[in-house]
């Protein structure tokens, strides 16, 4: 064995634990789901499967529920991702200042992302409640009329508020990015007379763009896949149908698979979502060269 092939073998050997798990528990189910999406699988006819071509995919685009849900999901994502990213960055910048007890604040802001999602939902349900809910109590103090937080008109706003409460999860990675910015840049800037805003605008923000890029990408993927929060915010069991404005895309897929046993159709729905995620990710990647700053210039 030559030195080169030994190095290659060592490489594959070292990544093999992850690779084997990824292939068997990740890639295989995904591709198997893809295969099933071209069949008439209803959950009980495995030994009588028929290939039905693109039928399930045709259905996705003529299913008014699926298209409605996709529209609501894109709307949710379009609001949730920028706000979530900005909030996580803003909080990280505040927490990055050397203040007494900074660590305590960091812990407090990070804490929401450690709370299990079910507990988070139950807690917010009580806060959003029209009977004794704290949000309406606060509005009442200021003489503002009570809001039906989980009703038709505000349900999506409430869902976004609840999701943003967990934005602290992005703080950690933002803080790591902020710590990585060389101090001497700020020192040099202050000698040149730059203020706090210029520091942020000319140093912090450009150097943080790779982190922001990562957060935006993960935010888009995560937001498009949200399903538990809308279901449990209005209902009390997994197969409950959320209030219409919060009927998001994966909720629809989940309902099709588990409430209606339309397994094959559910797979087609999820693969369409995969393509949507892929397309949006490509757009973000392609635009990144205009706004993401890399220390080492990429090869042209």
């Amino acid at each position: 064995m030559t030195e080169k092939s030994r190095r290659i073998a060592a490489f594959y050997l070292m990544i093999s634990p992850w690779f084997i798990i990824f292939v068997t528990l990740g890639l295989f189910p995904l591709l198997y789901g893809l295969y099933l999406s071209f069949t008439n699988y209803y959950g009980f006819n495995m030994n009588n499967l028929k290939m039905i071509g693109w039928h399930n995919y045709d259905l996705v685009f003529s299913d008014s529920d699926a298209m409605y849900a996709l529209g609501r999901t894109l709307y949710f994502t379009a609001i949730n991702v920028p706000l979530g990213t900005a909030l996580a960055l803003g909080l990280a910048i505040l927490l990055n200042r050397s203040i007494r007890g900074g660590g305590v604040y960091r812990t407090i802001f990070y804490l929401p992302s450690l709370v299990p999602v079910i507990s988070t939902i139950l807690m917010w349900k009580i806060m959003f409640s029209g009977n004794g809910g704290i949000l309406n109590a606060i509005l009442n103090v200021f003489g503002i009329d009570a809001v039906n937080w989980l009703g038709y008109d505000h349900a999506t706003t409430s869902l976004i508020i609840m999701t943003l409460w967990g934005a602290g999860g992005g703080i950690l990675i933002n803080l790591a990015g902020l710590k990585g910015i060389p101090k001497d840049l700020y020192e040099a800037a202050s000698i040149d007379g730059a203020g706090a805003f210029q520091n942020f605008r000319r140093i912090t923000l450009p150097l943080m763009t790779p982190i922001i890029f990562f957060n935006v990408l993960m935010g888009i993927i995560g937001s498009l896949q949200v399903y538990l929060q809308p279901i449990l915010l209005n209902g009390s069991e997994l197969l409950a149908r959320p209030i219409q404005p919060n009927y998001l895309y994966v909720v629809h897929a989940f309902q099709q698979i588990f409430a209606s046993q339309r397994f094959a159709y559910g797979m087609a729905l999820l693969w369409v979502l995969f393509v949507v995620i892929l397309a949006l990710s490509i757009v973000v990647f392609l635009t990144s060269k205009y706004w993401v700053y890399y220390e080492t210039d990429r090869e042209r």
């Binding site: 959950g43 495995m46 038709y152 993960m218 197969l239 209030i243 797979m267 490509i282």
Partner: protein, 469 residues
Amino acid sequence: MRRMALLLTLTMLIVLLAACGGKSGSGNNGGASATNSSVKTAGNTATAADSGKTGEVVTIRTSISDGELSKDQIAEFEAKYPNIKIEIEQLDGTKLAAELATNSAPDVIRISGAFETSSYAIRGIAMDLTDRIEGSSVIKMEDLVPMASVFRFDGKKIGAGAIYGLPKDWSNDFAIWYNKKAFDAAGVPLPDSKQPLTWPEVMELAKKLTKKDGNKIKQYGLAASEWGKTEPNFNLLLQYVLSAGGKINAADNATMDFNVQPVKDFINMWVEAVKSNVGPNSLNNDQVSGGDLFLSDKAAMLIDGYWYSGVIRSNENTKTHLADFGMLPTPIAPNGTRMAPTGGATGAIINKNTKHPDEAWKFYEWFFGGKPADDRAKTGWGLPAFQSKMALLPQETDFDKQVYGVLQDELKYAGFLPVNPYLSGGGWGIFDKYVQPLYFGKSSVDQAIAGITKDANVAITEAKNAAGQ
């Protein structure tokens, strides 16, 4: 070009990885059916020969919950049948769907008789138990109450044909429970428990019983269920249609049409009730459950079946003043027939693909007809499936006597909800989807009815296709 290709590949990989480990659970992207390749077809053909040779210990898995089948009961059974071990598997709807898809579902599957029997029969999951029940010395056919037939299905009609299961217990799920303290607080006399109210009368009563202090609601008139909001649901619709004599199913069940007067009346009546805030609902966004309100004297009436007497007898708030509670007969549609159907009838079927049909049956026979059936009847947490066990229901206190008295009347009006076997439980989501917007003035009753009819027929056509019909 190469850079572009690399970029695309990289993007795809990142998306794929994120999708695999997505924190919001998108692992469903195929996960549910990942292990489907191993589906076997043990089917009906499994015989006693391959289901436990002499001396071999066989494990029977069931999704009957540990609250319904205690450790002591299991020990009793296992002592009697040393070659059978019972294993309880806690299942929710999603896990059961995945297990059915991968042919790894339990041998004895807990289901709701009223809504699920036909669907399990059509899908070929439920074993036909007719011969076994007819030949049983523990379960006597002639002793079964009429409502036990909710587990029968002849391919078209629920209530006739092959027997696929038995109810563990059942109830007249659309009866009204009253809380006298709340009636007194509103200065409203209790209705006559001999005559059923009409549903519009219930709603009028609910309005009178709802007490406000300025904008704040001090007491609700009606809770539509013990766990949820005071809003209509598909079950309530079916009971109303049954009482009104409406026809929503085509004779062959191949289509449904909700555009009939009873459905319109039902939806109009309930939308009005929601807008009047007679109970916790999506408009007032009160998150307290109907049951909690009723038990703490903050709701005057509750729609629920006989089994709820078990809750009232055991709840800390209510067990000290049982005389304040009682049951009223199941309401009827205006000018309708008296009908007191069951909305659930929880029981079980035997999985047609079980490898041990004889052992599964032994357990089934014991659980549904043996000592556990007596134990259940004595607690009053539901009605037995056997006439002879009715006398075991609690009859000691005044509360017991009032409830038992009304029940005797109710039993005369047993009937089956007009469940479409192909739509099965699928109507719940469809109903909510179209009716909920009405509370917020976002749709009209006609639009809702058209939508429900359209979606229900799509689901029926699909289910028929899936069953190869």
